[in-house]
Subunit: 106 residues, 2 copies
Amino acid sequence: MQATADDLFRALADPTRRAIFERLALEELPVHALTERAGVSQPAVSKHLRVLKQAGLVRDRRAGRQTHYSAQLGALAPLIDWTSQMAGFWQSRFDHLEDLLKRMDQ
Amino acid sequence: MQATADDLFRALADPTRRAIFERLALEELPVHALTERAGVSQPAVSKHLRVLKQAGLVRDRRAGRQTHYSAQLGALAPLIDWTSQMAGFWQSRFDHLEDLLKRMDQ
DNA sequence: CTCACTCATAACCAATGGGTTATCGTTTCT
DNA sequence: AGAAACGATAACCCATTGGTTATGAGTGAG
């Protein structure tokens, strides 16, 4: 199921969680690597990842005893839709970016 | 002071508050008009407006005993920047892949 | 086989936050 | 002047949530 703008805003509202997502936008990482930099405990990181996954923002890949997470940038589409709708005059400038993300979904 | 992406995400994470902002994006409205549709009490609406104003998302204009609020769409800029940056990260990952493929080409 | 590592879950706690009712200061209307 | 409308604030309540520690399940290494 497609995440709503509501899901995305809620998932990204927390700074710690958003920081995790930002890191995952750069590279796929296992939980312990994320924990090192997150400034919170490993269970806290796992909980954040759960929320991000629920929102469709990240994907997990089991590899032995590690779980690698990566960002699903295409999931940002509803956020872009919402913003575009709000700021109608920027619509044209956004269409390009939106297309890009949608085409690269998953 | 300029609101951060953090402020914006937090301000827009609540559905009721976001709905208020969406209405104000269409037209300037006094508090009581917003209250009619918000589904919550007038003080609740006032609190939401306070948060939105703090984030720079709305502007208020006193007129007699009414206070008219309107959306400041330009305040969404940091949100757009953030999203663009995320897309940019993705782009750079893609560039890396391209590099890799090119180097492997010969 | 045993020990260490990785991660998810459970149980719990404190802070935050969105809601309420009550009230007060302004402003408008009669 | 008195009453009613409007909106902000205060005081309070309860659900949510982000954090913790403890633990268990699964996997890799010695």
